[in-house]
């Protein structure tokens, strides 16, 4: 397929762009394979220079056209929730532009995505891809205990197509047993180590559901694997992210949950978390309510309630607290799973680590956590889940904003513990944007196997390489950060959970006054070590080139 075939009209003159709190600009619209560009004529209309819109077409979630007379208006609803309007002279041009954008934004093949074409000058292709090797994480654990080993059983993705080649498993269980256990778990996701709690040596494991089925099948190797995790006389907890009812029903379709009789030392706790279509619909309803400026207070509160988004936030945080509490307070090992083990499971394991482990709360640590619990090691199917955002009219397939829910929960943690996360809201927003549409390869594909097949690491740039550049990194840091070695137990009372305005109202309300407050905080805190700031004067002057970096990003 050639992109050119999809582009019916490559340029249109005199297009009026408006939306997203910017003053309307008139200029020339260009459609390229991956971008929508708008450049205002230098010197024209009084404004000197060129105003540019660089919109990644992959970011477009929905295209709506309205024709009136000889011109038409195209409304672009983006995956990052931004809404743009293009007023295009000429009916035919308008239709052509609309269908070109529609076609280009619907290209579903991973290899055709922009990251495979994006070649920024100041980044090396291989940078950022191997920052967080599992081997390194394993070495840390190995200094504390010899009960775990790094297994290559999945070297060619044979045991589990959604696991990475290397996994951390109990030392006492050999690869053959792992293979058998894998056959007893949906999608081959046998229990692996997710987190080692240094304080007391307990561990958190994750997996998918056991394939007990209607006949209550058992698997000796799976039982053995979980058995060896517990020491003599110890008990563990299985946190099933489905209701007891749903877990039972799953048996009819070949799934199920660990019966007490076969896993006598594991106590099962059911904490239903929403996923799949209901979660996507919750997201859609919330965004819909946020964009409806005609609502009365009562209608707003009622729609906020009925979309249930905040209930999902509360449930996710509560369940993560439960897992963290089992590890830290009950000093018990925990296994977390739902059905496939790629969605709510990861939500819980990732959040629990953030609550427990100060190491995950640094900028680098958080990136590592994402690689371990969402991307490389965990195989959250980003390509499927983030194919469409809240505006799309397309029939829902496998979209679900689990990653957004995770980011929202992290934001709640940051709000309750404003000094404990090294990164700020801006990083969370950037991650959200990039998960749905990106110039970088980090969130491409559904799992490591797919990324290997597509040679993502060889042919695209890593998001981490870009945002770890010193001048870029600065923007994501929390000026109030001070390392906090303690567990950060959030409050999950409804009064303590807020709607994340920075995300859901990013393009709706002006953030001028809040940005000024943020700048003021920065100024106050940085005044603490004025000398450092002064010596960084050079850095300051360099920040003029930030805008360049910004455009680079957009590209």
């Amino acid at each position: 397929m050639e992109f050119a075939e999809l582009i019916k009209t490559a340029t249109v003159e005199s297009v009026l762009l408006s939306g997203a709190g910017l003053p309307p600009v008139r200029g020339t619209l260009c459609i390229t394979s991956h971008h929508l560009l708008l450049s205002s004529r230098p010197g024209g209309d009084g404004a000197p220079g060129t105003v540019e819109l660089w919109l990644l077409i992959r970011n477009v979630d929905a295209v709506e056209k309205r024709l009136a007379g000889s011109s038409g208006t195209i409304t672009l609803r983006c995956k990052d929730l931004k809404v743009l309007q293009l007023e295009i002279p000429g009916m035919e041009e308008c239709l052509n532009v609309a269908s070109s954008i529609e076609a280009l934004s619907s290209v579903d093949s991973v290899m055709m995505m922009y990251p495979f074409f994006y070649r920024p000058q100041d980044l090396r292709l291989e940078a950022g891809w191997h920052l967080f090797p599992l081997e390194q994480y394993y070495q840390q654990i190995a200094t504390q205990t010899s009960q775990w080993r790094l297994s290559g059983v999945n070297r060619d993705f044979a045991a589990c197509p959604t696991y990475p080649p290397a996994v951390i498993v109990p030392a006492a269980v050999d690869d053959e047993a792992l293979r058998k256990a894998a056959r007893f778990r949906q999608g081959g996701r046998f229990p692996v180590l997710s987190y080692y709690h240094q304080k007391n040596g307990t561990v958190m494991l994750r997996s998918s559901q056991p394939l007990t089925g209607p006949n209550r099948k058992r698997c000796r190797e799976d039982e053995l694997l979980l058995g060896t995790v517990l020491d003599e006389g110890e008990r563990g907890f299985i946190i099933d992210t489905r209701s007891a009812q749903a877990a039972k029903q799953a048996r009819m379709t070949g799934g199920g949950t660990e019966p007490k009789s076969s896993y006598p030392r594991w106590k099962r706790l059911h904490r239903p978390l929403e996923r799949g279509r209901p979660l996507q619909e919750s997201f859609i309803k919330l965004v819909d309510a946020c964009n409806d400026t005609s609502l009365t207070m009562d209608r707003w509160l009622s729609r906020l309630e009925s979309c249930r988004w905040l209930s999902h936030v509360k449930a996710a945080l509560s369940t993560a607290c439960l897992a963290a509490q089992c590890l830290d307070r009950e000093e018990a090992c925990v296994l977390v799973h739902g059905a496939e083990g790629t969605d709510t499971t990861l939500l819980v394991t990732a959040l629990a680590q953030l609550i427990l482990d100060p190491g995950c709360r640094t900028l680098a640590g958080f990136q590592g956590l994402l690689e371990r619990e969402w991307i490389e090691q965990a195989g959250h199917p980003f390509h499927l889940r983030c194919a469409r955002s809240a505006y799309s009219h397309a029939r829902l397939k496998q979209e679900a904003p689990l990653f957004l829910l995770f980011l929202d929960c992290v934001w709640q943690l940051g709000r309750q513990f404003p000094f404990s996360l090294e990164f700020g809201e801006r990083l969370l927003l950037t991650l959200f944007d990039n998960a749905y549409a990106s110039s970088y390869g980090t969130f491409l594909g559904n799992n490591e196997k797919e990324r290997c097949l597509c040679k993502v690491k060889e042919s695209t740039h890593s998001l981490w390489a870009w945002l770890n550049q010193p001048e870029e990194k600065r923007k994501y840091l929390n000026p109030l950060y001070s390392r906090n070695a303690l567990v950060i137990w959030p409050s999950v009372e409804p009064q303590s959970i807020q709607l994340w305005q920075g995300l859901f109202f990013r393009w709706i309300r002006s953030s001028k006054y809040l940005d000024e407050a943020w700048a003021e905080i920065q100024r106050l805190v940085e005044n603490d070590d004025t000398s450092v700031e002064e010596s960084a004067g050079n850095r300051r002057s360099q920040s003029l080139s930030d805008t360049a970096a910004q455009t680079e990003n957009e590209r």
Binding site: L301, S318, Q325, W489, Q495, L514, E520, I521, D529
Partner: protein, 629 residues
């Protein structure tokens, strides 16, 4: 003290509302002014102080095996659930508190016995801290159009207005008197705020006694005079802040609203803010929502919606924004009233002033605003706050709503207020505490009769003394922002956890940005002070510097300690998810809020020289001795 039959009860439990943790066990004391609970079971001595005047309701719940429960709801949203071993003790405490919390005679209010050992002179200076005349001067009054008149010096015009009022120069004595006969309780149109930039004014009054057809020439002249005092605009707004239906109903009682046909060039408009009874019920519902144990998110949001509280807050804010826009954008004067013009009118006028004028967003300005629009103009604090044993139907959270509107503005404009949330909470506490004279009685005349100015102290100097802790570290100064145009879409209004769940510390952010920034700020100030001190010394130093320089390391390290507030205490207990399915973060240590509250309300600051407080106002509060035996 005659109400206290049992000054001390031992073996009293204090239940924690949100956790299933073992209840505290301790001793309960009743003093003349406070209920004090000392927790004996804790390692650190924990005290809970409740001012009698803060108590809204005391309930004796059915006897349990643990003893006799006593549930206390406070006006500042503190809820204390005690269990007393002996029913007899419980009953005695109960009856004592009933009497202590709502005295019958005004002279039994705390303010009349509160004695901070301040000299008579300083006390009097304290009362002179806020001078409304100065504020009118600031607006340029008197000028060609407006004058300050003492027409009300013997309360002839209106007994709930202060002696001095601002009216149009064009309105003569006859007009004033005539108009007063046509306005409910004689509350004639007077100036509230003059927007100097364009001469548009905000004026306030009560409803006209128009009934179905009555007219009053003088009242019509009065409005004309107000309109003509703003030559830049051919018309003026008359805003009735009531729902239209309520206003119409009032016509049957011979009251009502202005007929546009009878007044020249007015634009009449209703802004539906509900009455005090609706507001009281709304707050009651909100209280219940806030006190629900472990509600689900849906329970909470549904409860919040059903309470209507935020809808009312939005209505007040919308009205304030309307006024400010009329004045600034349309350059038109506005006359505002509701029924009597002392509740909704006070809310709306003060909010509009706050939006228009950065002065009112400073410490001093905010005090002036409250003195002017609320105290002087006869908001019936005594009735609305239930200071004395009286009609419960008169109680209503009108002032609380105003304070919340200010807080909502702080959320949208974090750098525009000189003071912080704690300042609002402190004022709110003292509106109910009756510790100072400012909010006693219902109007100026009544305060004179009560000899407030001779017998009690003014709150404002005491607040100024503690200015450091009430400061907003993000304030960018008087000139950084002028008029504010808040977003009034529903999502911009947030539930104020810091007010309605203030004493449930587990719900609040576990690390306090405000404290941290305040300490950054004071460090910075100290360093600057020291730096300038050293600079001053520098020329006089001959030899080497080391002896002086040795003070530096200390300071350097000090600048690295602003994490004082990094709470180690939340480690205390994890959320008890295992037991009841929801997690609650909470703390062992007595809440800061409690602590502060206790200090504020019980201990004397000993202002040796109040002038300090009036001047640069940087002096720190000095701890005095506790008053109570």
């Amino acid at each position: 003290m005659e109400h206290i039959t049992t000054p001390k009860v031992e073996n009293v439990k204090l239940l924690d509302r949100y956790t299933n943790r073992k209840a505290a066990n301790g001793t309960l004391y009743l003093t003349a002014t406070h209920l004090i609970y000392v927790d004996a079971s804790a390692e650190v001595r924990k005290e809970t102080w409740i001012l009698h005047h803060h108590i809204a309701t005391v309930e004796k719940l059915p006897l349990t095996t643990a003893g006799c429960p006593l549930l206390i709801h406070c006006k500042n949203f503190h809820v204390a659930h005690f269990v007393i071993g002996q029913e007899r003790d419980c009953h005695e405490v109960y009856t004592s508190l009933l009497k202590l919390s709502q005295p019958v005679k005004p002279e039994d209010l705390y303010a009349f016995s509160y004695n901070p050992k301040m000299s008579k002179d300083n006390r009097e200076i304290g009362w002179k801290l806020i001078d409304l005349k100065v504020d009118y001067q600031r607006m340029g009054i008197p000028n060609d159009y407006w004058e300050i008149t003492d027409a009300n010096k013997d309360y002839e015009v209106c007994n709930t207005y202060p002696p001095e009022i601002v009216v149009p120069r064009a309105a003569n004595k006859a007009t004033v008197i005539g108009s007063s006969r046509f306005r409910s309780r004689g509350r004639i149109p007077v100036l509230s705020y003059l927007y100097k930039e364009n001469n548009a004014a905000i004026c306030r009054c009560s409803q006209p006694l128009s009934g179905f057809s009555a007219r009053c020439l003088e009242d019509e002249q009065m409005l004309q005079a107000i309109r003509e005092a703003n030559p830049g605009s051919p018309f003026m707004y008359v805003v009735d802040t009531r729902p239209k239906l309520n206003a119409i109903a009032n016509r049957a009682a011979g009251k009502g609203y202005e007929n546009e046909d009878n007044y020249d060039n007015i634009r009449f408009k209703f802004i539906g803010i509900e009455n005090i009874h609706v507001m009281r019920n709304s707050l009651q519902k909100l209280r219940e929502v806030c006190e629900t144990k472990s509600p689900s998110m849906s329970d909470f949001l549904t409860g919040l919606e059903n309470s209507g509280w935020l809808r009312h807050i939005k209505a007040v804010m919308d009205a304030g924004v309307f006024l400010a826009k009329a004045v600034k954008d349309e350059k038109a004067s506005v006359l505002v009233h509701c029924s009597d013009g002392w509740d909704r009118t006070a809310q709306v006028c003060s909010l509009a002033s706050l939006l228009l004028d950065p002065f009112y967003r400073t410490f001093k300005g905010f005090m002036v605003l409250i003195e002017k629009e609320w105290i002087a103009m006869g908001h019936k604090f005594s009735h609305r706050c239930g200071h004395l044993d009286g009609d419960p139907k008169e109680v209503s959270p009108v002032f609380t709503q105003f304070i919340e509107c200010v807080w909502q503005l702080m959320q949208q404009f974090p750098c525009t207020f000189e003071f912080n949330e704690r300042f609002l909470l402190e004022i709110h506490d003292h509106v109910y505490s009756c510790q100072f004279g400012n909010f006693l009685g219902t109007c100026h005349k009544e305060r004179e009769d009560l000899k407030i100015f001779e017998k009690t102290h003014s709150l404002w100097p005491f607040l100024l003394q503690k200015k450091q802790e009430f400061r907003n570290p993000l304030y960018r100064g008087f000139t950084a922002y002028k008029e504010l145009q808040p977003n009034t879409l529903p999502f911009s209004f947030q539930f104020w956890c810091g007010m309605y769940n203030r004493f449930d510390k587990g719900m609040h952010p576990k690390q306090c940005v405000l404290d941290h920034l305040l300490s950054c700020m004071s460090q910075k100030m100290k360093l600057e002070d020291n730096a300038s001190e050293l600079e001053n010394k520098l020329p006089f130093l001959d030899g080497p510097l080391p002896t002086e320089a040795c003070s530096f390391p200390k300071m350097g390290s000090a600048s690295k300690t602003p994490m004082l507030n990094t709470p180690q205490d939340y480690e205390g207990e994890p959320p008890p998810v295992l037991t009841n399915g929801t997690a609650v973060g909470d703390v062992e240590v007595m809440s800061d809020v409690d602590q502060k509250n206790k200090e504020n309300l019980s201990k004397h600051q000993d202002p040796h020289d109040l002038k300090d407080a009036f001047g640069v106002l940087d002096s720190e509060a000095k701890d005095g001795k506790p008053q109570h035996p």
